[in-house]
Amino acid sequence: MNPFIVIGGILVLILLYVWSLYNGLISLKTQIEEAWSQIDVQLKRRSDLIPNLISTVKGYAKHEKSIMDSVTRARASMLSAKSMNAKAKASEDLSGVLGKLLAIAENYPQLKANDSFIQLQKELSDTEDKVAYARQYYNNSVMEFNTKIRTFPNTLVNERLGFPEKEFFGATEEERKTVKVNFE
């Protein structure tokens, strides 16, 4: 057996391996970017619902000014947040104050029975779900990517390719679980 053929064959195999690893990582990276823009779209969608909600609530519960202001502030800081961490934090704060705002409807039967309030409430809780699922998809993709570059022998090749690990978005799966149970 010609040693050159053997060495050549091994080299070709290694090249094929690096090639497929590289392509796999690139497509995962694109998937992560897509997942991130999905989160962004849903966060934006939620902030778009808030002005309508505030004006509806105002019509029935003028005195709850402080809570409405805190929602407006949380929305503003949500919109101005740039980094992923800041967005995750702002989004959680916004969820918190929104929950309080929706809870005061209990004290205002007319507000609670208002059609557009009911509709907004449905849309908001649906958007919360959308954010949660978009985040789940994003974090799944990140996990897949990180596992791929961390495992042997990919990790050796990646020292050359130099893909950095990706960051998870916001709350962990455990926190999400408790949120879901609260809906019951």
């Binding site: 997942a35 999905q38 779900d129 959308k130 699922y133 789940q136 998809y137 799966e173 879901k180």
Partner: protein
């Protein structure tokens, strides 16, 4: 079995099934043609028709299945929970939102179809939409989206249309026998004609049964897998478990389902009433609900 190997096996099985179907129809046409005395003139027609229906089932299987079930397109206002839950879970699964349809029937059931995630359809009865809580509906839709993502729907749509075709052909043959009688060709030995006639009758009886068996072979295990991957999407297995509990209590038969489409649904739309009780276990298109619930509860 992992999801990737499941997808691969579904894709290969689809092609194997389409080929088998063509072979089966050609063989059946040969036997029946001879039994009825039409000779081999049927063969050419059978080849053309079976190839066409094979391809049609691949490309338009979803539309045919929908037409068979008489569904209407879902509306965001009217079917808010259905619509948004499907949107949300499609986000979680990383696939485009499927087209959504509703069958106006009080029986509780749902199915998914389409050749790939880009051409997918999820269909639910109005009964299931009104009687399930949102979290339970999520479990059901997640199950259906898993069928789509695993390419179960491609195989199942092809199977549904081709089984329908076989049933139709067998039915036609039986009618011809009944009304037309055997117009045997004169140059053929009467004995041989008689034997072929008997084989023809046996095949006509057997073919729907063979077809059903094929359809069962491809459908049972995947229900468990879809339950599991659905639970992975919602992170809330009890949602589907509760939904299945409600579904198992629902004794109503779904009128829109046929033998050809029964295996598509999340639970057996006939509630085991369509076949004789003595072989209902053999012919069940779905694993027992109690077992599925038990597994989901243990997750």
């Amino acid at each position: 079995m992992t999801i990737t190997s499941q997808i691969r096996s579904n894709v290969t099985r689809t092609y194997v099934f389409m080929t088998l179907f063509v072979a089966f129809v050609v063989l059946a046409a040969y036997v029946m043609g001879n039994a009825l005395g039409y000779g081999n003139s049927w063969l050419f027609i059978a080849v053309v028709l079976s190839v066409i229906s094979s391809l049609a089932s691949y490309y338009w299987g979803d539309k045919m299945v929908l037409a068979m079930s008489g569904a209407r397109a879902a509306d965001r206002q009217r079917d808010f929970d259905f619509f948004t839950v499907a949107e949300n879970l499609a986000i979680a699964a990383g696939i485009p939102t499927p087209k959504l349809y509703v069958i106006d029937d009080t029986a509780m059931n749902a199915f998914a179809t389409g050749r790939d995630p880009q051409h997918a359809v999820v269909c639910a009865t109005s009964g299931i939409l009104t009687r399930l809580e949102r979290r339970e509906l999520e479990g059901v839709i997640a199950h259906e989206l898993s069928h789509i993502k695993n390419f179960d729907t491609r195989l199942m749509a092809v199977v549904a249309v081709l089984i329908g075709t076989i049933a139709f052909l067998a039915d036609m043959f039986m009618r011809t026998l009944w009304w037309g009688g055997g117009r045997r060709s004169r140059d053929r030995d009467d004995n041989l004609g008689g034997i072929l006639l008997i084989i023809g009758i046996i095949l006509a009886i057997l073919s729907p049964i063979i077809a059903t068996l094929i359809q069962l072979a491809v459908s049972r295990k995947r229900e468990f897998l879809a339950d599991a991957s659905g639970a992975y999407l919602t992170r809330y297995p009890s949602g589907l478990a509760k939904a299945l509990e409600k579904l198992s209590k629902d004794k109503e038969v779904l009128e829109a389902a046929t033998n050809a489409t029964a295996h598509l649904f999340i639970t057996n739309p006939f509630k085991g009433k369509n076949f004789g009780a003595w072989f209902s276990g053999l012919f069940d298109t779905h694993p027992p609900i109690a077992e599925r619930i038990k597994i989901l509860r243990a997750m």
